[in-house]
Amino acid sequence: MGDISKPVRRFDAPEKIMGTARYVDDYFEEEMLFVRIVRSTRPRARIKSIKLPKLPSGYCVVDKNDVPGENRIKMIFDDWPFFAEDVVNFYGEPILAIAGPDREKVYELSNAVKIEYEDIPPIYTIEESEENKRPPIFGENNLFADYFYEKGDPDGAFRDADQIVEEEFRTGFQEHIYLEPQGMIAKYEDGRITVFGSMQCPYYVKNALIKAFGFPEDRIRVVQTTTGGGFGGKEEYPSQIAGIAAFCAYKTGKTVKLVYDRAEDVEFTTKRHPSRIRIKGAIKDKRVVGIEVDIALNAGAYAGLSSVVLQRAMFAATGAYRIDNVRVLGKAFATNIVPLGAFRGFGAPQAIFAIETFMNHVAKKMGEDPVRFKLAHRYKKGDTTATGGLLRSEVRLPEITEKIIEMSEYYEKKKQKEKDGKLYGIGFSMFLHGCGFTGNGEEVLKSIARLKKRKDDKVEILISNVEMGQGPQTTLRKVVAQVLGIPMEDVIYENPDTDKVPDSGPTVASRTAMIVGGLLYRVAKELKEKWKEGEEVVVEKQYRHPEYIKWDQSTFKGDAYPEYSWGANVIEVEVDPLTYEIEVKKAYAVFDLGTPLDKKIIEGQIHGGMLQGIGYATLEVMEFENGRFKQRTITDYIIPTAMDAPLFETDLVVEPYKNGPFGAKCAGELTLVGAAPAVCAAVEDALGINLYEIPIRPEKLLVLMNKEDN
């Protein structure tokens, strides 16, 4: 058997380099119609009247009355309409769409639509939503989700504490800025709707269309086109675009293209949930022995996936630390902001930022070195997690920490206070990430993966998971080829088409590599047994969670995840002593993400994920003001360029997961979650103050430092 981790050239790369790979906007057809969505220009209002311009022939309006089935995007609560009904709940909510052959004309017509509104008092912040003084957006109390779990005796721990430390943390919005904006092409032919587009989850889109059209499932087909990045942004949101494009195709009988421009994509698609996290720690003998974590997410106008994002945040609340007495509270608040949604890490980045920063602050308060303080609290094999799950595998945090401390020369550098006239700081973070779906997700999904060995002895991978840059076109081919002992080139894995592939679930949470990859590994084993040269053989398997995993979704007790990945980051920063501009100079990472399925692909995931985490902590500012985002383009919303990116140095420690393919665990999200707290710790080190909020903005540091001086 070859070494699965050894890098190979990516299968998807040549076409992408040449520019011949087709993303959704690269498909053109004669007589194709363009669509422009007419959106609410009020954050919250009743629609009083709509006045349409005179439409030339060939142009049409599509609105809620053109939805053949239910005007609801299928998600967890199904409260989110494709087109607003009587009320709009966020600035930019789709009200209707205009379709026609000339793009400029479509834009012109859509700008000429006049809508009269009657405003309703809007709710923007967690606090306003919590106070519930204005007419609620959702239910009676604005809560999409309200959860709670406990372990041990937190009240006892607080009663007996030497000291109680209470802090409040805030995290901001984060926009995905996948480089390819969202888009879909829809057709209605022979009684069937077909949608092509940029997406992570073909079956989410398919199921949404089944509900929206009220069609039997064989009348809906969804095909993924080469996807230019997703990061969670193309998890649930594509259903919105697919629906609108498909309604237009259904009404006109023509092929319809709906591709967002960047400004639309920045302002009106989902983003990472802002959070307020309050942590109260009971300290005894210089150790955190009890903790209460209260997590509030600003969830936006519709429930979307917020309840599950909140669950992941809650299950990550105590980070990589064993604390025996735990209480975790969580609420997802409705506000009049675009629905917040999935984004790499899915609630964990907020929680890990808070717990890591809290642990740093407590360590400093106790006069201890944060690294040693954290190590003293770390999980070990055999411990139970905050939800009472069992850690069955070795937790190699001591080794991870040792490596990163040595690699970064942490303690030598820690003494340094200045560099080239800048304030110098270094910060450390330690963390975990739960692999795969949260809680009972996999049980509900029951994914199916299939391999088809063709007569020409080539093998097709038939799954619904997509390549969006993270590498499965290469890594999954490697897995299957290696099990079967055939060349990788003989394994075929095309962009999924729901007419051809079974539902192996969404492309999220690193489940493509670990869960679906593991399933494919087992399918390939069976195919190998059944292999008959020159004949077609099809093998298919349904995923079953390992028997030993116990989880109660109603009490949040047990194994919230089947396995965990672990890591530590060290970040070096230089802060300008006058402007407090932050430069992130170097980023170190050591991860245990199981067996890497390709070292180079993993390296790419690490750099990209960390840079998104660094951006989250520094440059990526999105403010909400007067009912609208202030940053509406990528001129205003800044993501790191090559000039902002640090040098990276990384290493791996490998503790394989026995059900992952060749021992792979989760990777993509893990690489992001630890960066923000490490940046924060580094800036704190440089300035000698405590911080409680990301993004860390120079103008706020200036105010804080002036206060310090006085």
Partner: protein, 158 residues
């Protein structure tokens, strides 16, 4: 209005509104899909082309401005030896993930190495700072550029 220019080495003529974005003309009228629209605001570099050898964001250029000029897109570079070196180097360095930014980075790399065959890390970072990539963290793209500089050595000096 009739606008003549040289596109990927061939003389072409379009009859269109001179205010139309060069990006749209290249994609829609000539089917050159290697030129991508990532922002339409001049921020991302996915639409990068060469105009008379200089790298330009085609989303900011009205097609009327290229009258009589020489426009080169990734499709026009594809058969050159220089391109082949960049192609192989990007493959080996792992410079590509989702790929949406990649043709733009290839153009930037080509423009850089033509001007500065042995760039330092800082030169590379500066040269690609007009291109955004959300996937890679840039490091492995920079490796790709370095590799192309090294492998192409003589090519870049002509």
């Amino acid at each position: 209005m009739k606008i003549e220019f040289i596109l990927n080495g061939k003389k072409v003529e379009v009859n269109t509104d001179p205010a139309r974005r060069l990006l749209d003309v290249l994609r829609e009228d000539f089917g050159l899909i290697g030129v991508k629209e990532g922002c339409g605001e001049g921020e991302c570099g996915a639409c990068a082309v060469l105009i008379d050898g200089k790298i330009v964001h085609s989303c900011l250029v009205p097609v009327g401005n290229v009258k009589g000029k020489e426009v080169t897109t990734i499709e026009g570079l594809k058969d050159t030896e220089e391109y082949k070196v960049i192609h192989e180097s990007f493959l080996d360095a792992g410079s590509v993930q989702c790929g949406f930014c990649t043709p733009g980075f290839v153009m930037a790399t080509y423009a850089l190495l033509k001007e500065n065959p042995q760039p330092h890390e800082d030169d590379i970072r500066k040269a690609i700072s007009g291109n955004l990539c959300r996937c890679t963290g840039y490091s492995m793209i920079i490796d790709g550029v370095k590799l192309a500089a090294k492998r192409g050595e003589k090519l870049w000096k002509d």
